[in-house]
């Protein structure tokens, strides 16, 4: 029998002490979302403070004394499994740094590569990764000019980790950065989102589903060159990697102190990505990409840039997905297909599958 007693008194009831995870690193600190940003802010930005770092772009722009501008970036790769449909840790390591440099409007030229290898790793597997890096470097037109190798005891690394750093040259007159988006700019996305994240997740084999999806990992510097040739009015570019498109747009909204509005039904998502996200309770807006970029361009040039992107193999499914508006609240809003408006927030921490 169901008893019908009234509820207990609820005045002041239910919350535990908040957990800020300030004493210990947890996986969420590596998500690329808010927890990562807070760790960077708390731990790194103070001690390392300088104007180039403070801007918080994908690559830093430095101005050596001879007048040329250099873009410098570094990126560590810890992906598991080492090989996944569409790519591997080597291709990822080259493309990651090439893309971070290219997003500043720079032409990437030289990379360095640091390897942390786990005792017991098969040399043939290492050679396969190196071969993949060589091919990716050729595709991007960059040279790997220095490197380092360390070995750690078995069990201390997942096969191998790779760090790459790179420098690129910025032509005179190019001023691109996350802080330069302007009200009125159109936002172009170079293709469907979420392919990399879902392909890697499926390759881990823990989810019990198969997919024909392949990672989009690709060097985007040739696409960037075409974009820059098509318009002198490119204001910002970024590749939406960890944290996904939503996090990238939020970063630029904050850096440029502008509002961003995107339109749900213009954002390309492959059906396989949509289906996997539905099943796992993920939102494709937060799933990682490794071969996509968003471009913020003055509205009159948008169609021309879109056409150039669509002519490239790296942007054939590009779409205009939104625009920058002048409200100073630095938020990303989405106009849903139904006509309502909602906030698109930054990724919080580690993405977790929902319960049911």
């Amino acid at each position: 029998m169901m008893a019908e007693q009234p509820l207990p008194d609820l005045e002041g009831s239910v919350c535990p002490v908040p957990l800020k995870h300030v004493e210990q690193v947890v996986m969420g600190h590596g998500s690329g979302g808010n927890m990562t940003h807070e760790l960077v802010k708390r731990a790194f930005l103070g001690p390392f403070d300088n104007p180039a770092l403070r801007l918080g772009n994908d690559a830093a722009i430095v101005d050596p004394e001879n007048g040329a501008q250099l873009a410098i970036s570094t990126d560590s790769h810890v992906v598991w499994p080492l090989f996944f449909p569409g790519g591997d840790i080597g291709r990822l390591a080259v493309c990651g740094t090439v893309n971070d440099i290219a997003m500043m409007g720079a032409e990437p030229r030289y990379l360095t590569a640091g390897f942390i290898l786990e005792e017991g790793l098969e040399i043939s597997l290492l050679e396969k990764v190196i071969r993949s890096m060589q091919l990716a470097a050729e595709e991007a037109g960059v040279h790997i000019v220095a490197g380092d190798t360390k070995v750690v005891q078995r069990g201390k690394a997942d096969g191998m980790y790779i760090n790459t750093s790179g420098v690129g040259l910025i032509e005179a007159g190019v001023h691109i950065g996350g802080q330069h988006a302007l009200p009125g700019d159109k936002i172009i996305l170079s293709g469907p989102i979420g392919d990399h994240g879902i392909a890697v997740l499926a390759a881990r084999g823990e989810l019990g589903f198969d997919t024909t999806l392949v990672s989009d990992v690709a060097p985007l510097n040739r696409l960037v060159r075409a974009i820059l040739q098509a318009s002198p009015n490119i204001h910002a570019m970024r590749d939406p990697t960890r944290g996904g498109l939503a996090t990238t747009l939020n970063e630029i909204a904050r850096q440029s102190n502008a509002n961003i509005t995107i339109y749900e039904n213009t954002i390309p998502v492959r059906p396989a990505v949509s289906a996997a996200c539905e099943m796992l309770g993920f939102d494709p807006l937060y799933v990682a990409n490794e071969g996509k970029l968003v471009v913020f361009v003055a509205a009159p040039d948008a169609e021309r840039v879109l056409a150039v992107m669509r002519a490239s193999e790296y942007g054939s499914l590009a779409e205009i997905i939104g625009e920058v508006t002048s409200s100073p609240s630095s938020r990303v809003l989405m106009r849903t297909a139904l006509g309502s408006t909602r906030v698109v927030d930054t990724l919080t921490g580690e993405m977790l599958p929902r319960i049911c």
């Binding site: 919350c15 908040p18 849903t336 599958p353 319960i355």
Partner: protein, 372 residues
Amino acid sequence: MKHLNEYRDVELAHGLLRDIGRKLTQPWVIMEICGGQTHAIMRYGLDQLLPSEIELVHGPGCPVCVTPLELIDKALAIASQPGVIFTSYGDMLRVPGSGRDLFSIRASGGDVRVVYSPLDAVQIARQNPDKQVVFFAIGFETTAPANAMSVLNAQSLGVENYSVLVSQVRVPPAMHAILSSPNNRVQGFLAAGHVCTVMGYWEYEPIAAQYKVPIVVTGFEPVDILQGIYKTVLLLEQNQIAVENAYTRLVTRSGNSPAQNVINKVFEVCDQKWRGIGQIPDSGWRLRSEYGKFDAEYRFSVGQIQPDESPDCIAGLILQGIKKPHDCPMFGTGCKPEHPLGATMVSSEGACAAYYRYSSSPLIPTSQVILD
């Protein structure tokens, strides 16, 4: 996906919105029970599109939100023990217990793993015979069949190193509790479609009759939810008390008998504490004594853990539909998904998390510096 797109059809949705508007003659307060529905409402902005006469309040149907603190503390105690692999649905990792969460346990060396199905946890137990594998069996009637099945599975395979930490809750007693509260404002319910897929909806007929509220079994896509609201409004406007089914593609009156049989074989009804609400008679399930050996609480002697909740947030009032997330002074400032003060902010199905993530009305301070 084509099938899914039909339930997100813009024309259909707007047609239903017009129909709802035409039938309204007065304001109504409707509660959606399930956190999945709360999220769909916020994600698609249905609250903005509905006529202002319809007030949607959000029910206690988020399994993560209502799992009591002592169960989470027990989970943390078990997960920190050496030789234990602690498995859980992903959302539970973020829920803070008394000072720690499962993320902290993992960071301190505990073996905490996210699984998609409790049957995967049984598989992990078979692959690790020298470890104790524990599954955190939480949830409503939706997760109960799979959670129960894992116990049957472990028994039939002779898997001795598997156990479950159970916190199962049932919807109908919670509706009784909400409707019998002197603070109740709810005039009609959207019943949770997936709970009813398992249990059917015959259990709701006495509730509708006793409290004179219409109840409409409702799905999770925008068109489903609008259809549920439309049917509820029709019943309210016609002063009709009935239980109707707006999720006929999955739900029947009697539900899924094999799933119910599995539940009844493994679990028995018990009184259950709900986080934020308190003890509700007959609102939970516990392992029957014949499956007592699979009970992690006894296997690990954590039955004595009884923590106190601290008084910082209003999650309990939100879970009952008495308050909205915006009513909380901590919302979006002291309490965010990455630093939740309350369970309603923790879970991806929690009402506060839904408001925080999707609602464009509150101004949320953002001051992060970015470095990629």
